[in-house]
Symmetry: C2
Subunit: 142 residues, 2 copies
């Protein structure tokens, strides 16, 4: 069933959380975006062992939100392939920033070393640029 969409507020952060505010939905995006996974079975066998009912409900949710789409595998009719829409692909920067943050602060995370270096080196410059924009009220919320 389609989850009834009830916004808690008109805040853009809240909009993201209304869709992704749980421990699983972003992992499906990760699998599609960064692990090249495309099928139900591939999602189901990720390290975090998502339950099949949760997985199915998330795929429906993501399709309802226009973030993924389904198609039959042309090579094998019984197989269904999931792919990200543009709206889904555009989540990449969010994922990347999450990974950079973890790369810096999670000692146990398995992020490539060069990415850690990249993140640390660019962190200050990136933050300063954003803070500049903040000063111009570019991102300030009401």
């Amino acid at each position: 069933m389609t989850a009834r969409k009830e916004r808690r507020s008109d805040c853009p952060i809240s909009y993201v959380l209304d869709i992704f505010g749980d421990k699983w939905t972003f992992l499906v995006i990760r699998d599609l975006l960064l692990k090249g996974k495309k099928t139900y079975g591939e999602f189901a066998t990720s390290d975090e062992k998502i339950a099949t009912n949760i997985l199915a409900s998330r795929l429906v949710l993501l399709e309802d939100e226009g973030i993924i789409s389904k198609e039959k595998d042309p090579a094998k009719g019984s197989r269904i392939l999931y792919r990200l829409t543009q709206k889904g692909v555009d989540l990449l920067p969010v994922l990347i920033e999450m990974m950079k943050w973890s790369a810096v602060y999670d000692p146990d995370t398995n992020v490539p070393k060069e990415m850690v270096e990249h993140a640390k080196a660019h962190r200050d410059a990136f933050l300063n640029q954003i803070l500049e924009d903040l000063k111009k009220d570019k991102y300030l919320l009401a």
Copy 2:
């Protein structure tokens, strides 16, 4: 009580979700980072109306994770001020990317118009840059 930390995997995205995988925690960060809120009462009166028990538990969680810290208001001893640590401030890029995404895809979001323009104009360039890095396996997960 301190939530028992049980990682589901060593994935950096999963690390973020283990902390922020709910509908409320990021809103507290938003209030600190983008709304200039500092006190319990200010958090409690946000648009989304977080329950006080949830709020308190999230503040404990965030302090345990080293993302916020507490101090007494020097001007008023009974008042407690929360502030972000460096680890917390470094979440800003994540929040910003979330806002940019909402600015593009949520028709009802109340993001400043200039930010929408900014996001749309820079989206392709930004994605292309990340995709370049992806090709170099800079962000690829195992």
